[in-house]
């Protein structure tokens, strides 16, 4: 049933009478096309599914992802607005999308207060941080993933040798990368020995995850159970981070050049964005987080700043020189957790 609409060259929108799909079939096909890296085709199929399913949460969820892939934050925000009655996080997504178009009022990170202080000794081995639900936080130290309560107490500790990267999936579940292991929630995946010097890992919206390596400069894809789904060579000066957005698009951060290379879900190059401040590329792009609109939060290891850029690379806000940012964790919405390792404090920021 899906084949004619996906493959038949003459499929058009509006569709010819012989070329019409049932709305649910069209929506399923749209999702398949999106995660296959064909957002335009996903868009046509999405429109075919709209007459009957236009206000359905499932349709709106796919629509938001397709609009993200098409770089249409307004339409994406509109989809989330319609989702707001059934999705508590939708309003925050709308705010994030519309505030970060680069069109509206200037943004600034606003300190929301200090987070419970940990002693400097325990902070030194912290590699990465991420905000957790209800004021909690995830800390990735050199050898463990810690879950901290809102009062700073350690709720959970999971060992992870030679930890390197921490990020959150769409549900806020942490995915942490060790020397040869990926811990994604309760799932622990042992990476094959062929994966040489992994530096970053990221979950994808289809349930798979990616691992970026420095040794052989490759990007690997695995199922959640650890089955290899293939790999591709990447040519980066110093691979720093891999991230995947809600539409399945892949972002590769190059520490040396301050560039972020964006690929479609099918690994076809989309664009390269140079993250720059005062027209100078970031000198050391240590960390990267992507939000619901494809906007980028970067940590510059040289200037010790966290900087927010639009999807096209326009600088929106910076934590500024007054604050030393050794690591930053962001949920993509309003919660930014910044670590000043020297002072031994965390700051909570909002925009």
């Amino acid at each position: 049933m899906l084949l004619p609409a996906l493959l038949w060259p003459a499929s058009t929108y509006p569709p010819a009478p012989d070329d019409r799909l049932a709305p649910q079939d069209a929506l399923d096909a749209s999702k398949v096309a999106l995660f296959a890296g064909r957002p335009e085709q996903a868009y046509r199929l999405l429109l075919l599914a709209r007459p009957a399913l236009g206000d359905d949460p499932a349709w709106l969820d796919v629509a938001a992802r397709v609009y993200l892939a098409l770089d249409r934050p307004g339409l994406e925000a509109q989809a989330f607005l319609k989702l707001a009655p059934s999705d508590p996080s939708a309003a925050a997504r709308v705010k994030a999308l519309l505030e970060r178009t680069g069109n509206g009022p200037r943004l600034a990170f606003q300190p929301l207060g200090r987070w419970p202080v940990l002693d400097k000794k325990s902070l030194k081995p912290v590699v990465a941080v991420a905000p957790g639900p209800g004021g909690s936080a995830y800390l990735l130290t050199e050898d463990a993933l810690l879950t901290l309560g809102a009062d700073g107490g350690i709720l959970k500790s999971e060992s992870l040798l030679d930890a390197r990267d921490l990020t959150l999936d769409a549900s806020g579940v942490p995915l942490a990368l060790g020397a040869d292991t990926v811990r994604w929630g309760d799932t622990v995946v042992k990476l094959p020995s062929t994966v040489s010097r992994p530096v970053s890992a990221a979950p994808a919206p289809d349930g798979t995850f990616f691992v970026l390596t420095r040794g052989d400069q490759r990007l690997y894809r695995f199922s959640r159970k650890g089955t290899s789904l293939g790999s591709a060579a990447v040519a980066l000066g110093d691979p720093a981070r891999v991230r995947v957005d809600g539409a399945g698009r892949i972002y590769l951060a190059d520490r040396d050049t301050g560039q972020v290379r964006l690929y479609g879900a099918d690994m076809a190059p989309v664009r390269t964005v140079t993250l720059a401040q005062l027209s100078r590329p970031l000198r050391r792009l240590d960390d990267l987080t992507v939000d619901v609109g494809g906007n980028l939060l970067a940590v510059d290891g040289s200037s010790k700043e966290a900087l927010l850029f639009t999807a096209s690379g326009q600088l929106l806000a910076s934590t500024g020189p007054a604050l030393r940012v050794d690591a930053a964790g962001w949920d993509g919405l309003g919660n930014l957790l910044v670590l000043d390792r020297r002072e031994g404090i965390f700051w909570r920021y909002g925009s």
Binding site: T12, L81, L98, P105
Partner: protein, 717 residues
């Protein structure tokens, strides 16, 4: 008499056909017998007269005993007894005379003896009357009241009335008065006085009004018209003059016998302002004089009527009379209800009942619209005839009021006509043929039929729209709480070609912690707001939130919008009227035939480039959705779209390309798609929700590779 006989004939003919003839002949014979007796009495042949009267009186006596005696027969019997008694007296048979006259007085105590003037005869008759009766000295006020004595009307309502001894019932009635009854006991030879004074229970009011022909309504009911000049009657004339009016110039409307209390009175006349007031009627129990209402002159009211149409140059017919061509201005045009029809040959028709209200100018804006034939309503077995009737009534009232279509109701002598369009047994070709035939006959562009069903205990109304140009139908269904709400189903069909609302045209939202409403989508105009811009003010009004902004934007003017874009304050004029939403694809059940009808009408009638653009794009979309790419291309052929905007050259190019791809003309489509894929602002819906760019990119991507360029000819030599 003839009527009674005829009635009797009819009655008897139903039961005993033979008897009817007999009765008629008998009655005729009795009349003849009396006439013969009168002649012979005149010829002083008293014996022969008695012989003629005997069988007559015998027959009538039998009828009386059988209870068949009618009032007319009674009169004949009374006259016969009077005459026979007189003959007997003249023959010296006084006893027989006394016998007949005694019976006559028993029948009719007040019988006026007239057959003879002889004093002896009169003396004897009055002696007999005196020996049998007493008298009632009757006085009735008013004198023209109808008085019934023992249920029989008295010939006189005043004076002395002879009555037989005993108890008698008197009843007096007159319109405008409460009826009165009383009993009177009379002895032989006695005279009893009886006075009946009726009391008024209503009052007649005479309204004096101008102009002639004005209609009077009391409590909403028409009472009469001003058609009798006050000069036609002295008291009216006097009153009119005393009120300062010329009696020949004011007209009287009697409102007879109005009950006491407050009444709503209205005087209406075409071309005049309606006068309404409350009138309290007070009874005049003493004299019951009629009430006169001082002359009321209705004010003549006219307006300058302007009739404009789309397209202009259309013929205007008002109340059946050709009034001119649009744009039309008619000075001194009467207020009130008028039938306005606007038509242009080959383009279309507009018809409406317009209530022209007071003011300086009244404007009729007529957009020529397609005509739909209403073929009627059918039902399934679970729908009651009463429900069908209620639904039919509801629809009949609502059809002429449709805003987007003219409605004609089929006058076919075929009770199963609506079934033709719903019964599964009727093939599509037969339905199409019926639609073609009826639309030709009624000069309509589409046919609408309805069906009431009960599904799971709930009443459902389905409407099917057929268009003669192609087969199939649009079907819309709606649930009804009651059959009388069937007209609500028409809203499924009666929708405009393009729809929009401020909320859709310029979506805004509030964000947590934001400084004001934020534009969600922005607009295609590069000078207008973009997604994420902050709205500061609409006109001179600062807007704090999205709801306030929407309310300010809903106003009919074209407000200037002040907004913040990338840190810079900008202004832009929002024109709500220029925003339109098209439906590129509404799914399998979308009303594409409705869209097609409206779009074709729009193409014929549009006068501005924007109207032409919207109409042709709508027509193209309808054609594509109906599977007619050739016609879709034709719809776009003469179009000159704007270079940029939400509906621009990219939109038109993309739709042309879609039609061409569906026709297999891929290489013609390719450059159009290449161009459209560069147009980030073009949309298919006009509001930015259906983007052309990704659709064009995708279609371009799926086209087969272009054929290789022809090899260059090698240079000779």
């Amino acid at each position: 008499m003839k009527a009674r006989v005829l009635a009797l004939l009819v009655l008897l003919a139903l039961s005993t056909p033979g008897a009817a003839q007999v009765v008629m002949e008998e009655v005729g014979a009795l009349q003849e017998a009396y006439a013969t007796a009168q002649q012979t009495y005149g010829g002083v042949q008293f014996r022969q007269a008695v012989e003629s009267l005997n069988p007559l009186i015998d027959s009538l006596t039998k009828w009386e005993q059988a209870g068949r005696l009618q009032p007319q027969d009674e009169v004949l019997l009374e006259k016969s007894l009077e005459l026979r008694g007189t003959c007997a007296f003249n023959l010296g048979k006084t006893d027989l005379a006394r016998q007949d006259w005694t019976r006559l007085i028993q029948l009719r105590p007040d019988y006026p003896f007239t057959v003879a003037k002889t004093p002896k005869i009169l003396k004897l008759f009055e002696e007999i009357r005196s020996s049998l009766t007493g008298t009632i000295a009757l006085t009735v006020d008013p004198a023209d009241a109808v008085v019934l004595l023992d249920g029989r009307p008295l010939r006189l309502s005043a004076g002395t009335v002879p009555v037989l001894k005993g108890l008698h019932a008197l009843k007096a009635t007159r319109p405008g008065y409460a009826a009165q009854e009383r009993e009177v006991s009379v002895d032989v030879g006695a005279s009893v006085e009886a006075t009946i004074r009726l009391v008024p229970n209503a009052r007649s009011i005479y309204f004096f009004a101008k102009p002639e022909g004005a209609q009077l309504l009391v409590d909403g009911k028409p009472v009469g018209r001003a058609d009798r000049p006050a000069s036609s009657q002295d008291d009216w004339s006097r009153f009119a003059r005393d009120s300062g009016a010329e009696p020949s110039q004011v007209y009287v409307i009697p409102a007879l016998y109005l009950p006491p209390g407050e009444h709503r009175v209205a005087l209406v006349a075409p071309c005049h302002r309606k006068r309404e007031f409350a009138l309290t009627v007070v009874l005049d129990t003493a004299a019951n004089t009629p009430g006169f209402v001082k002359p009321i002159a209705l004010e003549r009211r006219t307006v300058n009527l302007e009739v404009v149409s789309h397209p202009s140059g259309s013929q205007v017919v008002i109340d059946g009379q050709v009034a001119g061509t649009t744009p039309l201005n008619l000075a001194d045009f009467c207020i009130g209800s008028h039938e306005v029809a606007v038509q242009k040959a080959g383009v279309g028709f507009y018809k409406s009942t317009v209530n022209v209200t007071e003011g300086t100018i009244f404007r009729v804006d007529a957009t020529l619209r397609p005509t739909l034939l209403w073929a009627g309503l059918t039902r399934d077995q679970e729908v009651t005839p009463r429900q069908l009737e209620a639904a039919t009534e509801s629809l009949a009232a609502a059809l002429p009021a449709m805003g987007q279509f003219n409605a004609v109701i089929a006058q076919e002598n075929n009770p199963v006509l609506p079934d033709t369009f719903f019964t599964p047994g009727v093939g599509a070709q037969d339905q199409a043929a019926a639609v073609r035939e009826l639309c030709e006959k009624y000069r309509c562009q589409g046919l609408l039929a309805g069906r009431l069903t009960v599904d799971g205990g709930k009443l459902q109304m389905a409407l099917r729209l057929f268009v003669p140009e192609f087969g199939g139908y649009d079907e819309d269904e709606v649930g009804l709480k009651e059959a009388s709400q069937a007209a609500t189903a028409l809203t499924l069909v009666d929708r405009s070609l393009v729809e929009s609302s401020v909320a859709k045209a310029l979506p805004l939202t509030d964000v947590t912690g934001g400084r004001g409403p934020v534009f969600v989508l922005g607009v295609a105009d590069p000078n207008g707001p973009a997604a994420g811009d902050l709205l500061l003010a609409v006109g001179n009004t600062a807007v704090a939130n999205a709801a306030a902004a929407r309310a300010a934007l809903e106003k009919p003017e074209s407000p200037v919008v002040r907004f913040l874009h990338r840190g810079e304050e900008k202004t832009w004029t929002f024109k709500a009227g220029s925003v339109a939403q098209l439906v590129p694809y509404g799914g399998e059940s979308y009303g594409n035939r409705r869209l097609w009808l409206k779009a074709r009408q729009g193409v014929l009638g549009s006068e501005t480039p924007q109207e032409q653009l919207l109409s042709r794009l709508s027509l193209c979309l309808a054609e594509l959705n109906l599977g007619r790419p050739v016609e879709a291309l034709k719809a776009l052929e003469p179009l000159r779209p704007p270079a940029s905007g939400a509906l621009d050259v990219g939109t038109v190019g993309y739709l042309r390309a879609v039609a061409l791809v569906q026709l297999g003309r891929v290489e013609e489509a390719r450059p159009l798609l290449q161009s459209a894929s560069q147009d980030a602002g073009a949309t298919l819906d006009g509001l930015g929700e259906v983007l052309v760019q990704p659709l064009a990119e995708e279609l371009l991507h799926r086209l087969p590779a272009p054929p290789p360029a022809p090899p260059q000819a090698a240079p000779r030599g």
